[in-house]
Amino acid sequence: MNRRIVVAMLCAVLLLAGAGGETPAQSPGRLIVQSQTEPPGLDMTATPATATSGIVFYNVQESLVKVDRHGKLVPSLAERWHTADNRNYTFFLKKGVRFHNGREMKAADVKYCFERALNPETKHPYAKDYEAIGDIIVKDDYTVTFALKTVNANFLQNVARAGASIYPRETVDTMKSHPVGTGPFRFEEWVRGDRVVLVKNGDYHVKGLPKLERVTFRFVTDPNAVLAALKAGDVDASLFGLGPEHVQDLQKDARFQVITGDTTNDVILAMNNSRKPYGDVRVRRAMTYGVNKADVLKGAMFGMGKILGTNVDPLNPYYVDLSKAMPYDPARAKKLLAEAGYPNGFDSVLKVSPQYDYTVRSGQVVADSLKKIGVNVKIEQIEWGQWIARVFREADYDLTIIGHAEAWDIKNYANAKYYYRYDSAKFQDLFNKSEVTVDDKARREIYVDMQKLLVEDAPVVWLFMHPRLAVTKKGLQGLWKDLPASANDLSEVSWAPAK
């Protein structure tokens, strides 16, 4: 009898397995994208999560101005804009743009969205970015003027952010689970725990776009499962989440194309400047000289990515290559440590969160290279939620490693309360000046000065720019190579016609 059960089980298994093992093969117009983290809600005015903007921004909702694939500010919902005094910005809206619910987008909607962001009741995560706005004047249905209280050199950048996307006011209450916008794709469904599905917006305001009919974002967390899903043909593309070792593996596979580009993600070794011994600039410089960044890049990223020397990423228009300003030099590091009173080095604890595997890997190489200058680094892994609470919010740490993905995040060095606890009046002055300097050439000069000052002060050790590691099936075209904005613009993506 037992044997009969076993036989029956086997038959069932074979039947199930054999019964037409259809794989969702790539079909024209359809795309299945793997997404590493499930978004904490789809409302970009409620969460800054990149998992949210990675799906919604540019695809479902758009803003007046757009950062394009080259990092340039280009028209989007506003077809042009104008300012005479850098205080009053007038945007001329594109006509005939319709929300997914059929209603036309008008100047009153723009006014509503920005006023809502500024209203403390709404808990907009980026309200600070818009606090310079004094008054929003609707001239007519297609013309709106922002009167700023102060000159704000970043104003257009901020208007291009995910937090400044334009949505219809009647959908505000359901945006968290059903975002409505003007984008190339309409939101169709969110099966919690499994996928988000977008479908083509036939009425999109850019003619000929989008090219795809249907996009599915599937949530697969385990990188090895992502690799298997790609190889089995169950997903068409992985835009984020594969490790460098998986990318190397897929590079050898003729069925796939690998996209490695630049991003705004700067991976840093942060030192708590308010704690001994990191208050001493000589110690911080010694740490910079003492970390072999080339080895870190090899050990953690298989050599992919770019070594950084300061906190402006290569996609930033004001980027200066300072990666060789303080090269690996253990002898010099030791000398600096001796001058600072630590001829035999010291002990320190490095807290890293396995949420981001590259930080733990980098940490091991960092510890290995600092050992050679007498700094004994003890690694402690910490859960992400506790990292946020203890390290990031309370600055309860000596050393930590993390990637900062936000563009223009040099501003954090001007904030003495930020978890680096870097407090330099000189830097703060420079930064404040940069915020009100609108002339591009003058502003660039300030940015160069800021970068050089940071190298001198070494408030953190900049390790590398985390590269974009995307893999797709061959034949998928139109994806961005670099990622200057925290979005996955799929409007121009399509399958190459079969040969």
Partner: protein
């Protein structure tokens, strides 16, 4: 009785031999390893076995043989001590609960249910938040998770044995409760407990790796078998050997302990004279 010389028992002897060899390797690693288990080499990463690195190298070019040896200390210690804690506390609970019965049984067993029903990750996180990281903490954390299984198994046996003829007879002859439990009931409930203990061992080793990610237990760059096995998963195609060696080490240990357990079972069983 005289015939039961342990070393004549093939299973037991083989199990003992394997276990002793592993313990010896762990002890040796404290004094000597072929290479520094922490030394990195960016030019020799993810290599297969060679004369220089008999087990190959990991993603940082570290010698896998030396890391497996060093990892033995942690992994064997965690396995033995965590299972010991779980078995010790669980058996005690199970004996009392099963023997006394009634409301006490109900209360203790529902407490055990609560322990099992409480999300393990949550209790691990609580441990990381309250205690400073260390091996002892993770051993206790893992051991606690084993308590429900041992408690239930013991209780199940006690419930059954309590009513058996030889126990009833012993009670009628005036045996005290403690003596009854230790001399008559416990030895007869050992077989399932031994199986449970040996099968819990690899679970403990892997749980140690899971806790490491939360900051408890072994922290990188120090090795443990569980951590190596988890790491190796990412490099399956680039260097399959990376997984084979720590995986085999775990399997070998489990084999040794299983044989040892089976042998012990035979030797301790009053019925196989």
């Amino acid at each position: 009785m005289a015939r039961r010389r342990p070393l004549r028992h093939v299973t037991f002897t083989l199990g003992l031999a394997i276990t002793l060899v592993l313990v010896a390797v762990a002890a040796l690693s404290l004094l000597y390893t072929p290479a520094d288990p922490l030394a990195m080499s960016m030019t020799g990463r993810l290599e297969g076995p060679s004369g220089r690195h008999p087990f190959g190298t990991d993603q940082f070019g570290r010698d896998i043989l030396s890391r497996v040896m060093t990892g033995a200390v942690t992994s064997i210690a965690v396995g033995v001590i965590a299972v010991g804690i779980g078995a010790g506390a669980g058996v005690l609970l199970g004996l009392v609960s099963g023997y006394v019965g009634g409301w006490l049984d109900e209360t203790l067993m529902r407490l055990v249910d609560a322990v099992q029903g409480f999300p393990a990750i949550l209790s691990a996180l609580l441990f990381t938040a309250v205690f400073s990281p260390g091996m002892a903490v993770s051993m206790v954390a893992i051991g606690l998770a084993f308590v429900p299984a041992f408690a239930r198994l013991t209780r199940g046996s006690v419930l059954e044995l309590r009513e058996r003829e030889f126990v009833v007879a012993a009670r009628a002859l005036g045996s005290r409760d403690g003596r009854l439990l230790l001399r008559h009931i416990l030895p007869n409930s050992l077989p399932p407990l031994i199986v449970q203990a040996t099968t819990s061992f690899p679970v403990a080793i892997l749980a140690e790796a899971a806790l490491a990610y939360l900051g408890l237990g072994t922290q990188p760059p120090y090795p443990s078998w569980g951590l190596m096995l988890k790491d190796a998963q990412n490099f399956l195609t680039l260097n399959p050997w990376f997984a084979v060696f720590p995986g085999s080490a775990i399997a070998l240990t489990v084999l040794g302990l299983n044989l040892l357990g089976d042998g012990l079972r035979d030797l301790l069983d009053p019925k196989t004279a």
